[in-house]
């Protein structure tokens, strides 16, 4: 076993005090924080980089800096692919389960191109990848990388394709070949791009390691369904001098699925819970292997199988994926899943406060309010939408907290609601003055009437009952 396998404390075991004890304790505020303790707290929460502490960069603090760096570094290496300014970071995870902290660096999705694809297809794939964007809760969901495989096995062919792609995209690259001369030819076409190299195996590791060192690239180690070999190769190429590694324990579709996610899971647990540094590198999943199954089946089926294999891998710790599909219906669910899984569970998700309209409301339509907690908002919105209710919904800023907690915690007050009514200019839109409030905000009804001068109707506790409520209770007059 490796000598470097010393158990490292997990992120949850490091307290701000541990960090504070090592800081200069000068309260110099150069980092922008009030004092060293505040800085320590932010460090532990990974909200500020260590380098913000200027005194730590002095020579006499070199050892302390290293000590803190070791203490705070994630158990999964953060690997950078690409060159400035087009760098993508993968890995850098602190935990196994997202609820333990938060996941960093959303799974990068690389789209497949080969050196035998006709130009037309190469360019259309580049275009699809670059233009892919979907707006979701204020975020633009995108694809991230291009993977180029040599199916020709010919160095010149590969070189030409890499050159063509590199000239036409700024997206970071993955170069794939098990044949070192082929990979080197690709690297020569774009020597400073720092692509991710795929892959070192038990047979070619030495040459691959040389390439990775010479071109200063991160290197993938591939040992399908053999964790002993994967670990051995990780140790070997690290010791050889390769600085940044990505691990591929193999994505075996179909009847290999149990082994595949078993391997991903064991690796991540070994790294995060047991401090195994040899396995503390980002994981690459290749759902593209779904295309190898049932070779004669229609492309829809292959797209289909690749899509749900990708979803499985996003859930089970893949830091980067290589996909062949360019179908929107196959990719969209995956980028949305990725966004969900990588949302910081420590922070409530909020939507923009303000007025929303449903259907085609008129001056007699009901006016309601809800909070800007995203889940609450989307639930209410979907209930109004599916019931086809023409209405106005005022989204009040509750700092992303659900109704009951927001009322209890004074995140929603009568004054805030009154102000939201004014800002939404809803008095210009309807002639009545009757506001339907969430059932869980019932205790604010009197105060809201006082502040807003609107009449308050206490609505249902669950938005699914709004249709029923309106049917029974809604009129524009008292």
């Amino acid at each position: 076993m490796s000598t470097r396998e010393v158990k490292k404390r997990s992120i949850k075991e490091i307290s701000p005090i541990d960090v504070y004890m090592l800081l200069p304790k000068t309260n110099c505020k150069e980092c922008g924080e009030e004092n060293c303790m505040a800085f320590a707290t932010k460090l532990v929460n990974r909200e500020i980089p260590l380098s913000q502490c200027k005194p730590l960069l002095k020579k006499e603090n070199e050892n302390v800096f290293k000590q803190l760096w070791e203490m705070l570094k994630p158990p999964i290496e953060e690997v950078e692919v690409g060159s400035e300014p087009n760098i993508i970071k993968i890995g850098g995870k602190y935990v196994m389960y997202r609820h333990e902290f938060t996941y960093t660096n959303p799974t990068a999705i690389a789209i497949d191109i080969t050196d035998e694809m006709p130009d037309e297809e190469v360019f259309s794939r580049l275009k699809t990848t670059e233009n892919f964007n979907y707006i979701y809760i204020g975020q633009t969901l995108k694809l991230n990388m291009i993977s180029i495989r040599s199916t020709s096995g010919n160095p010149e062919t590969f070189k030409a394709t890499v050159k063509k792609v590199a000239e036409n995209t700024k997206l970071p690259l993955v170069l794939c070949s098990f044949d070192p001369p082929v990979l080197e030819a690709g690297l020569m076409a774009t020597p400073k791009a720092r692509p991710l190299l795929y892959a070192a195996t038990k047979d070619n590791w030495k040459d691959m390691a040389e390439l990775a060192i010479m071109y200063n690239c991160p290197l993938t180690v591939f040992a399908p369904n053999d964790l002993k070999l994967l670990r051995s190769l990780s140790k070997t190429v690290s010791q050889y001098g390769v600085k940044s590694l990505v691990l591929d324990p193999g994505t075996i579709p179909g009847d290999g699925l149990a082994d595949t996610i078993g391997n991903f899971t064991m690796i991540r647990r070994s790294a995060t819970k047991r401090g195994d540094e040899l396995l503390g590198h980002p994981l690459i999943g290749t759902p593209i292997t779904a295309w190898l199954e049932n070779a004669d089946s229609p492309p829809e089926l292959k797209n289909w199988n690749e899509a749900h294999l990708a979803a499985t891998l996003i859930n089970r710790y893949a830091d980067i994926l290589i996909m062949h599909s360019v179908e929107g219906w196959a990719l969209l669910p995956n980028v949305v899943l990725r966004e969900n899984i990588y949302t910081d569970p420590r922070k409530p998700v909020a939507v923009e406060p303000g007025l929303r309209t449903f259907g085609t409301p008129n001056q007699d339509s009901p006016v309601m309010f809800t909070t800007n907690f995203a889940l609450t908002f989307y639930t209410v919105a979907s209930d109004l939408e599916s019931a086809g209710i023409d209405s106005y919904l005022i989204v009040v800023d509750s700092e992303g907290i659900a109704v009951d907690c927001a009322v209890a915690g004074r995140k929603i007050t009568a004054d805030k609601v009154a102000e939201a009514i004014r800002e939404a200019k809803v008095e210009e839109k309807v002639k009545h003055r009757r506001l339907i409030i969430p059932g869980k905000a019932a205790r604010l009804s009197g105060e809201i009437e006082e502040s807003s001068k609107w009449e308050v109707l206490v609505g249902p506790r669950d938005s699914s009952d709004i249709p029923k409520f309106l049917k029974e209770k809604w009129t524009t007059t008292t």
């Binding site: 200027k54 400035e84 010791q239 040899l278 190898l292 499985t312 859930n315 219906w329």
Partner: protein, 437 residues
């Protein structure tokens, strides 16, 4: 034009369904890669230089202190030509020689000990057990997180129950096209779901009992249940309308006419008369679904209240399923935490988990026509349900209530693969890089 496109999508999805049925074994061509001897100029820069460069680069990124940073580095090399990773600490020890052959190390399977185990719950009862079902389904019993086969095999396959409604409900078009002919007849619908779509179980949603819809009487609802019982021989889940008073009346009646069938009553909620609901389940031998809105404390609390009346093996829990893109992150994390807590020994969460996966269709990306770049909803919709299901499967869900045949088929296959255990042949993918797709 649009009609034609729709028609085409329908045909495609039918093809897809057929294809999903006929998975075939395919032999891959084994392409050997010849590795030629290489001549690569040895780079003069050692790993030590790279480590120093890395440190330098890292320090350079700090706004100030560059001078002092440089003084840390005793080497007199010029600045790095390439941006290097900031991974200072991980730089290989410089004292070690470059290996000439693979440094063999072992791998220790990282198993853990768990104090707790999920309860086993059996749904349905055969003739000899006092019911009339052709088979029963047992879920739960886990001793390790979902599909940690390196620790413990999955004791029971997660089960899939297909939704059947007793009255017309608005269904997404991609779903409706598969059940359109049976929507007026719950018994025929259930039969189709079992015979054609291979449902392990049927969830009969008695929506029509809703005072706001048809206000169907408990006796009438019970009649529908009897019809479905006769049409299929799989275990049944009885779903209410969400009105705690009406549901209770109906559950009491249905529990009685289906005495011994070991239904799952879906669901018992905090605002229900829990004593009455549980007493009905206990008296007639049924299981209850303990349903709470995405909150572990509320889940524990409700389960505790149910313990006053029912043993653990008659309780399944549902902590709420939100659709992919609409809160799936919460649903996933609550379930993952519930399962881990159960295994760590929290007795109040040691229940099999059920998911209303059909909720995936609440996402507009599932049912809506979108710009052409997002593909036909006939594929997008079932994929939405599939991804929602797989995510929750990995969190530990034992029972899925689902809708779309393609999603059901895919989840079934996935469960089969995940429970079967190690048969991953690395040869299958060894040469994926050169495969011409």
């Amino acid at each position: 034009m649009r009609k034609l496109a729709e028609k085409k999508s329908e045909e495609e999805i039918q093809d897809l369904l057929r294809s999903l049925t006929d998975f075939q074994e395919v032999e891959l061509e084994d392409v050997e890669i010849d590795i030629e001897d290489l001549e690569i100029l040895l780079h003069s820069g050692s790993s030590r230089d790279l480590a120093l460069h890395g440190l330098l680069h890292f320090l350079n990124t700090a706004e100030a202190g560059i001078a002092s940073a440089k003084s840390i580095i005793t080497g007199k090399r010029s600045p790095p030509r390439f941006a290097t990773s900031t991974r200072v600490a991980r730089a290989p020890p410089t004292a070690l020689a470059k290996p000439t052959s693979i440094l063999k190390v072992d791998f220790a399977v990282p198993t853990e000990e768990y104090l707790g185990q999920v309860a086993e719950v059996t749904l349905g009862a055969t003739k000899s057990e006092g019911g009339s079902r052709g088979k029963t389904i047992t879920i739960g019993g886990e001793k390790a997180p979902a599909f940690y086969l390196f620790e413990s095999p999955t004791p029971h396959k997660p089960a899939i129950s297909l939704d059947v409604f007793d009255t017309h409900v608005p269904l997404a078009k991609p779903v409706k096209m598969h059940v359109a002919e049976v929507m007026d007849d719950p018994a025929a619908w259930a039969k189709l779901a079992v015979d054609k779509y291979e449902a392990d179980m049927i969830t009969l949603h008695l929506i029509s009992i809703d005072p706001l819809i048809k206000d169907t009487s408990p006796a009438e609802a019970a009649k529908t249940v009897e019809n479905v019982l006769q049409a299929v021989d799989v275990p049944l889940i009885i779903g209410g309308c969400g009105d705690p008073k009406k549901d209770l009346e109906v559950f009491e009646k249905v529990a009685e006419i289906g005495a011994g069938e070991r239904f799952m009553l879906s669901s018992v909620t905090q605002d229900m008369d829990i004593e009455r609901a549980c007493t009905a389940a206990k008296k007639h031998g049924h299981v209850v679904l303990s349903f709470t809105p995405m909150d572990l404390n509320q889940a524990r609390q409700l389960n505790r209240r149910i313990y006053d009346f029912l043993p653990k093996n008659q309780i399944v829990m549902d902590t709420t399923t939100a659709a992919l893109g609409y809160g799936l992150d919460y649903a996933f994390t609550i379930m993952e935490r519930a399962r881990l807590a159960a295994l760590m020994g929290d007795p109040e969460l040691q229940h099999p988990m059920s998911s209303g996966t059909t909720n995936a269709w609440a996402a507009r990306e599932a049912w809506k026509k979108m710009e052409p770049e997002w593909g036909p909803r006939e594929f997008r919709g079932p994929m939405w349900e599939t991804v929602t299901a797989i995510t929750l499967l990995l969190a530990g869900v034992d029972l899925f209530m689902m809708m779309h045949p393609a999603a059901v088929k895919t989840l079934k296959k996935t469960i089969e693969y995940l429970t079967k255990g190690s048969s991953g042949d690395p040869e299958k993918i060894a040469n994926w890089v050169t495969a011409k797709l």
